[in-house]
Every structure is written in C-alpha cells, then in structure tokens.
C-alpha cells in the first residue's frame, strides 16, 4: 500500500509537467502540529468550566489575528482557570479530579503544563479544598516573581493554599476566615479580599512561612455597594468596580493595601437610565495607554451579571470617559491585548440565527428555545473603535475567562 503513492510522488517530482495529473502523494503518518509562540503576533487563552459538564473543564489557546484554534488543555472538574507565568514556558492549573470521574476519592493537584507540547510536566498534591466557583478571577494568584502560587479554598471554611513552584512542593494551608479572594502584588505578598470591606495582606519569606498578616482599612462598603472580584492590574494598582459602577483604584504592595482613588464609571444620570456593569469579567485594562474598559448594558441592579452590550473606555489619568461603542454580540467577559494596536476580546453569547428569526421565536415561543441555542465564542474587536473583526466559535459551554498571553 505504501509503494504506489511513493512512486507517484517520485514521478511527480521527476516529471514536473505531469504533476497535476499524477496521484496525490501519500501523507505522512503520525504527525503532530508543533506549536511555537514565535509564529503568532498575539495569543489568548479562554478558560471554560463547561457547565453542566464540569469534569470537562478546559482551556483553549487562540490566535486572535487569524482566528485559529491552536490547542487545548483538560483542566479537571469545575476549573477556575489557569495562571500564566511570565516566562511563557509553563501553564499552571490547580485541578480537582475524582477516582470515578464524578464520584469516589477526590484529589486536588497543581499541574504544570509545558507551554509548547501542552503535556503535564508534573503535579503537586494540595489539600482537597480548592474552591469551585463560577467566576474565575481572584481564585488563584502568582507572586510577581512567579515563585509562589496561591489557591483560594472554600469548604465552606475559607483558607489559602501556598505552593512553592521552585521546590515543587505544597508549603502550607493558611486560615484566612472571611477573606477568600486572592490577588497578587509583590514577590512575597498576597492580598486577600474580605467580607468586611478590608483586604488582608499576607507577607511570607523564601520558605513560604507567613511572617505577617496585615489588615487594611475598610476600603468600601460591602453592604451598600460591594466591589466585584473581577479586578484588573497595572503595576501596584488594582482596579475594581462596584456593583453600582464606582471604580476603586486600590494600591497593593509590600506595605499593604490602600485606596488610591475612587470615582464613578457610571454617572448618577447614567444610573438613572439603568446603565449597569455586566457579565463576569467586566473590566479590562490597556496598560501602555492607561485605558480602562468597562462592559456595560442597561438594566436594573439585579442584572449586574447579565451580558453586556456596550464597552465604555476611560482614561485612568484623567478619570474621564473617552470613548464608548456597542458590541456586535451580547458579551459576558472582556479583555484587551497589551500591544500598540490593541484588540478587545469578548466572550459572546451567540444565538446561531438571524436577529429577526430570534424575535419571531421569542414572540411565538418565549425565551426558552432561544436560551437553549446559546453558544459561546470569542469575538475579536478593534479596541480603538470597537469594530468587529471575527469570531472563534464553538468554545464549549461556559467559557468565561480571557487571558492575553
């Protein structure tokens, strides 16, 4: 079976004029595409908890410029996302697995994947307490030097697992009652968001031993208007938005956590018109230009998690809204690339039919058949003017986190 095609190939090479009518050559067997970061101007990871099929938590690697789906990772039961060390050579994922897929003995492990072959390089056992929550931001963090990994636990007691990535070992579980969400800021510090409106800064040494726990002032009112956990970072500053639309510029460093500034992203007039924050990952930042992007839509307060229809752009230096545009798709998460001609990424809730067909079905049968057809994809826009570029569709059942890489 092998010889004939080889002969045909030889014939084609020997008599190029006959190539077009010669047989197609035999294809090589067993080939695997080799991934190289250098082949791509930009890359982006999308993480999917795949609800209701959470055992298939996955990460998808996408080239936003070509729209190519490049590779994927299997991330275990109810993933809350991946961490991307700055060396670009590894991907870290805290995972939960069961001996019988969805029953039996539970094992939690921190897995290191090779960022070229997408195969596991190794895993570290951690306490089987990893939090499974719908929003992925604030569930894990890396120290700024990528040495320590911190994982949020919820059993429902709240604690933090600390892992030393240099020594490849679990270091400690630290009780952090009332303070579940974790954010990076420093080589030997993690900052935890607490239910009383404060932050708790953990300072530890090279061995991972906690040297100090420092509680911040009350930075916001958790009962009147709590901040969303979906913050974005630039240097020592983390930016959060409250459910009602106030921005909190919060500085996190070795000294602890302080409120640098706060101002409304949604003005009183706009609140009157029911403009609201939207979706899961509702803030994005373009660090080179110091621009902040807010995902927004119109709806009453309880709609703060509904898909967004618009993006508003703010200049962080002047605190002024500089721009805004409508998105092509209803969108649950946004992020922005960090280059000079940035792209805005959105996870769109697509209904695979023309708008008028949707309206027709809505009028005749209600929303249920439409909800059942929603499919999520990564939509790529020009971040400058919001012009739609392309969609990478069929990305599982509930992709929610976007990470430029």
């Amino acid at each position: 079976m092998l010889k004939r095609p080889l002969l045909a190939l030889l014939a084609a090479l020997t008599f190029p004029g006959a190539a077009f009518s010669a047989d197609l050559p035999e294809d090589p067997m067993g080939e695997v595409v080799t991934f190289s970061r250098q082949d791509h101007d930009r890359l982006v990871w999308v993480t999917d908890m795949n609800m209701p099929h959470q055992a298939h938590g996955r990460g998808y690697l996408i080239d936003p410029d070509t729209g190519a789906f490049l590779a994927m990772l299997d991330l275990g039961y109810w993933t809350t996302g991946i961490e991307l060390p700055s060396d670009g050579a590894r991907i870290l994922s805290a995972e939960t697995h069961f001996s019988r897929t969805t029953r039996g003995e539970r094992s939690d492990v921190l897995v290191t994947y090779d960022a070229k072959t997408f195969q596991p390089l190794g895993e570290i056992s951690i306490p089987p307490k990893r939090a499974s929550v719908v929003k992925m931001q604030g569930t894990s963090a890396l120290s700024d030097d990528d040495r320590f990994f911190a994982q949020m636990n919820f059993t429902p007691a709240v604690s933090l697992t600390l892992i030393d990535m240099d020594r490849n070992e679990f270091v400690a579980e630290i009780d952090t009652p009332g303070c579940p969400n974790v954010f990076g800021g420093g080589d030997r510090h993690f900052h935890l968001l607490c239910g009383d409106g404060t932050f708790l800064t953990l300072t530890f040494n090279d061995e991972g031993a906690v040297l100090n726990k420092e509680r911040s002032d009350t930075l916001f009112d958790p009962f009147e208007d709590p901040i969303s956990i979906s913050g974005v970072r630039s240097g020592t500053h983390w930016y959060f938005v409250s459910l009602a639309g106030d921005l909190y510029d919060i500085e996190m460093d070795a000294e602890g956590v302080r409120l640098a500034a706060t101002w409304p992203l949604i003005s009183p007039d706009e609140r009157q018109d029911e403009w609201s924050i939207s979706g899961f990952q509702h803030l994005a930042i373009h660090r080179p230009s110091n621009k902040l992007y807010l995902l927004t839509h119109q709806g009453p307060p309880e709609t703060f998690e509904d898909p967004g229809t618009h993006v508003w752009v703010f200049d962080l230096a002047t605190q002024a809204k500089s721009d805004g545009y409508e998105l092509a798709e209803r969108t649950i998460s946004i992020a922005v690339s960090q280059d000079d001609a940035p792209l805005l990424y959105g996870i769109g809730a697509h209904i695979p039919m023309p708008l008028l067909a949707q309206i027709w079905i809505y009028l005749t049968e209600g929303e249920a058949p439409l909800i059942e057809t929603v499919q999520f994809g990564l939509d790529v826009y020009d971040a400058e003017d919001g012009s739609y570029q392309r969609t990478i569709s069929q990305l599982g059942h509930l992709p929610s986190m976007i990470q430029p890489w």
Binding site: Q54, T102, S132, P180, S228, Q298, D306, I359, T364, A368
Partner: protein
C-alpha cells in the same frame, strides 16, 4: 425577568423602528400562516399561574422563589423545588435570598440548597440574581458551588429553593 426577556423587549422595539411594526408582524404572520405549526401567542407565560398563596410553576424559572437562583432547577431533574433528586444529597449550608411572594405580598427568606453527588443535570437552567453578592459575602453569593463541604463533595447536580422564614424587614 431574565436577560433574554429584557434583551428582546428592547430589540423588539428596535426592530419596530427599523421596519414598521405592521410590516414585521405582517411578515412573521405570513410565515406562520403559511405553516400554522406554532401558535403566535406566548402561551408558555400563562400556564399554571393560578392565584394561590404560592403561585407559579416550580419547574419554570419564573417561579417567585427562584428570584436569586443560579443553577438547574431540581424540579426538572427528578427532585422538587424543595427536595433533591434520588441519588443525590442536599448540601447542608448555602446562600439565602429574599423573594417577594406575589401570592401574599410577603418577602420570604429562601435557602438555595444544592443537590450533590451526580453531575450537572443540565435541565431548566435558571439564572436570576436578585440580591446576589460577590463570593467574599458567601451567605448571599450564588456563584459558589455549595456542594463544597457536603458528604457528596463538589459534584453539583441541581438547586432547590426552600422557605426558611418570612423576612419582616423587607
């Protein structure tokens, strides 16, 4: 009212502006008349909503007790709105919401206990977020998998809506 309702309420208005409402409805009417397969009236909204002191259909996302829910309705998964499906176990603790019962115009405290130990039911998904808070306020956070800590561990199947009291302050 879910984001679909809101979206289409708004979109229908937009569509009516783009084309005159008469012609849109006429176009739809012509198509529907051509087949008569589906009724034009939104019948799904009416069924089962008799006025009692606990009105509504527990297998519909519109049911009043689900005002703060985020999950699959156990009523569609072998359970009821207050009991887990066979083979699953109810999470011992969870978040609570406060919902207005249109049957008696009182606010009730609803405990949204998850049923755990079988994989996600996938039927009657329902997301409503009245009073939902970020997960660092767990007592009011529906983004948390409350199967955590139960004996069936974190395998989430569906969610219930259990009355635990009347909220006299609401």
């Amino acid at each position: 009212m879910t984001w679909f309702d809101r979206f289409f309420e708004k979109t229908s208005r937009t569509a009516a502006r783009l084309s005159s409402r008469r012609s849109v409805v006429g176009g739809i009417g012509a198509l529907v008349a051509g087949t008569a397969i589906f009724p034009l009236l939104p019948v799904s909204r009416v069924r089962g909503e008799e006025v009692t002191n606990d009105p509504g259909d527990p297998s519909s996302c519109d049911y009043w007790r689900y005002c703060a829910i985020d999950g699959y309705l156990c009523s569609c998964c072998g359970g009821t709105h207050t009991a887990c499906p066979p083979g699953t176990i109810m999470s011992p603790i969870t978040w609570v919401g406060t919902c207005l019962n249109p049957g008696d115009n009182k606010h009730y405290i609803i405990s949204y206990n998850d049923c755990c130990g079988k994989s996600g039911c996938g039927r009657c998904g329902c997301v409503r977020n009245e009073g939902d808070k970020p997960m660092y306020l767990p007592q009011a956070a529906n983004n948390i998998n409350w199967c955590a800590g139960g004996s069936a561990d974190i395998i989430y199947n569906c969610s219930t809506a259990i009355i635990v009291g009347v909220d006299d302050d609401a």
